[in-house]
Amino acid sequence: MSAPPTLRVGTVENPRSVRTLLTPEGIALPVTLAGAGDRLLAIFVDALLIAAVLLVLVVVAIFLPSKLGAPVVILGIFACGFVYFPWAELRWQGRTIGKRVAQLRVIDRAGGRLTARAIVVRNLTREVEMLLPLVVAFSGDRLIEDAPGWVGVASFAWIVVMGAIPLLNKDRQRIGDLLAGTVVVHSPKAALLVDLSDVAQRDGPSAVAAAAEYSFSAEQLGHYGEYELEVLADVLRSDRSDRRQALGAICEQVRKKIGWPGDQGVDPHRFLLAFYAAQRAHLEQRLLFGKRKRSKRG
């Protein structure tokens, strides 16, 4: 028999990037630290947005009398650099527009309320961390007269160090995060899928009778554990193109393992759905008595 298709259980997360948030109610919630790619995406979107706003501002300023146009541009640049990030993070609970696109969120590292002050502080250092060295590196000669070559080199070194800090420390904090005591986490919107064990919910009430055609004995349900249950749930929910083959292979395997009598054609999908429900009922029943079976190995 060919090897069953390889399956990954849900999203395999890097446990090193998971932190636990203890709510005041005493419930531990896992949060995932944001990855470097997502954070780059967020800052890229924000930078793009700011560039667009500045462009519009400059165009508007051209049509204004110069008395009004110049202050608009000067204050606009200041607002984009220092006001936009704190304002957005205050308005959307720790998310700028870029962070919303990348599904990121700033939270308090200690799990408390994210204060306005923390938000402001973490954004005050943006210029020092990134913007200023970039300007010096690319046009230092215009800022500082007769700037020696090492100024540019030092600026690049600065950018590299600043970029490396969030990659090197264990909570992926940049300098601003360190000063404000904040971390950036990945906080996507999840969807609640139907309960696979709940026939009435899954296939409608009319399917309830039909689902009774398979029943399993306690002995037949004693082989597998929670891990296998999850793998099965993932395959049943997946929409991969090779799902039919996968279901067929798994069905074959399960029938062999539990000794399901008769090899006449069963519908793998319906068989496995019934098996999933029965297996989960069995394991949850045992769980109530404090007996866990993590996987088929025990």
């Binding site: 109610e25 204060t115 005591g181 064990s197």
Partner: protein
Amino acid sequence: MSVLRLRSARFRAEREKRWRELDGLVRVAEREGVRALKPDQLARLPALYRAALASLSVARAIALDRQLVGWLENLCQRAYFIVYGTRHLLGETVGRFLLRTFPATVRRLGRHLLLSVAFMFGAAVAAFVATRADPERYFTFVDAEMAQARSYDSSAEELRETLYSDGGKGFLATFASYLFAHNSRVTLLCFALGFAFGVPTFLLLVMNGLVLGAMSALFVDKGLGVDWFGWILPHGVTELFAICLGGAAGLRLGQLVAFPGEGTRREELARGGREAGALAVGAVAMLVLAALIEGFFRQLVHSIEVRYGVALLTAGAWAIYFGVRRERSA
């Protein structure tokens, strides 16, 4: 044999409606802010959140449907950020900051402020003395671009002109906004660079002081001392004080990085960083005032008595603002 609904499936069916209601509220709040919620929705939010948390702990104990548990964790987490999120009204936050937090922080970090003032004015005095002793030193302290017409080559009349010209009345707003943007940037740099052990902050303060001292020496030498201080003090009281506050914030950061004290460096930085940040933000607010005085008042009002009067007035106002303790300090 009839198909029994699992205990965990029943559990879910009984509660799913309320979870979904919470999910809906959280989505609205995430998209449009908490204030987009209607009053009755806002009132229901904490109860729904707590119910979801309770469901989560039950689900963890009885349900082996990881999709459900994961979804509930996600829902609780997002609701948590809304319920315990930044819900302060902006006006209220700003008001409390200006009335309580900022003056209280300035008082608490008084020693850092003194140090920062000492650096700046120490450098100013040194440059003043050195320049008066030898005018050749002027350009070691002030670079040519900044000096413009102000140098020992200019006549007293030309120098006087720089103190009383209105710089073209039409561009006062431009000038004021430029001053504000520039000074705020310097102040925020003073703060932000503090994490490099405070060294760049120290340098910025000293450089500012040197320019101030050298220019003062120039004008005093040309017999324009009274006019010069009448020109610089009305806004300078506020502006220099604000820059010193930024410096104090930077020095505090430097201290935290070098000597974290009792806790870990990370904890102490987080605690002290927010405190020092408050100084820097308050200083920027002061710079708005300074820029208005500098950009409009100074360019329009040339009476030396009025100029000194305003300088005194601002000094007195700041002394009261920072010196008088309000009842409950924040």
